[in-house]
Assembly symmetry: C2
Homo-oligomer: 196 residues x 2
């Protein structure tokens, strides 16, 4: 029942397999409860093998976070390029948080991984540009971006923690559109925000 018919038996793709196993484990019980040894067990190797590839547990979580930032950047970019309006970038943010909960939860717990990791830093910076709408925001854009980011980020984390009243419904994207209607960004083009 091996996934590969005859796997190279230096596994061939351990790093990626460990990453997948880690994301799955985090998805089950949260990042704090994830254990290196369990992840390694699921991948069928000793925990030292995981340490070899990632240095240590923080290294593994750093890889999860970096992957998360890359995915987030991609989704935000897609949303922006669709040109359906500013709001849909926020919706994409919330959608990412819900659909890639494991990565999202790690990304915003910097004490669990290496924030100064080169790959993470760069992926974060790229995502920030998309969130603020420009690489060189002025004071106004900065404040407006922080407001929008705060709103969707807060909404995503409150949703994930079950802190939102169930009367709001159970579709986080729809809730995002409802809630974001209370945000008024002067510069933004609102034309697409209320289409329905």
């Amino acid at each position: 029942m091996q996934p590969q018919p005859t796997r190279p038996y230096h596994h061939g793709d351990l790093r990626a397999a460990l990453l997948r196993a880690a994301v799955e484990a985090i998805g089950r019980a949260g990042p704090a409860a994830m254990s290196l040894r369990e992840v390694a067990r699921r991948a069928g190797v000793s925990h030292a093998a995981a340490a070899y590839h990632f240095g240590d547990k923080a290294g593994l979580l750093t890889a999860v976070a970096a992957q998360g930032y890359r995915m987030l950047t991609q989704e935000l970019q897609n949303a922006r390029d669709a040109r359906r309006g500013f709001l849909e970038v926020g919706v994409a943010y919330v959608r990412f948080a819900v659909s890639h909960r494991a990565q999202f939860e790690v990304m915003y717990r910097p004490e669990l991984y290496r924030l100064d990791d080169a790959e993470v830093r760069q992926a974060r910076a790229t995502a920030a540009v998309l969130l603020y709408g420009t690489a060189t925001p002025n004071a106004e854009q900065l404040a407006a971006g922080a407001a929008a980011w705060s709103l969707v980020h807060g909404l995503a984390t409150l949703w994930l923690n079950g802190n939102l009243p169930e009367q709001l419904g159970n579709d986080p994207e729809e809730i995002t559109r409802i809630v974001a209607a209370y945000l008024s960004i002067p510069g933004a083009n609102d034309s697409h925000q209320r289409r329905r």
Copy 2:
């Protein structure tokens, strides 16, 4: 140099001392890194003594969360009673997150403690009433409350994680006022929101 001249030597106040030690430990390294044994060591007792008072580690964190919710409720209540406007309740929320970071971080990591604990449940419900402005919100109030709560919650967590650009300044309360200006709540009395 004992705090008490001759302490009763069944300590007298171990539970409270452990709580204080836990909050301090969390403040140093985050909730995930807190260890029962270290907390007990700091209080000068064995880790089993801590288990006796709180059941287990989750029990200790449950107590931290419950205390946090009670404190938050108190501060939100004070802000509301000051009648300086809706905005100042949000400012109080962010101020609480920053000044009681340990409690705040535990409160919104429900996988670390017992969300169904009676004390926690009640304290949470009380805080929710203050956040929505009424015990029986209609759909409009619910959505507006969720928007406001999401904004300040997102702002607080992003601030704590160092995710906000430093050009916004280093005073989280001031940043809250700046950012919250982008929020337009129809029913709310804005008269006090722009006083400066």
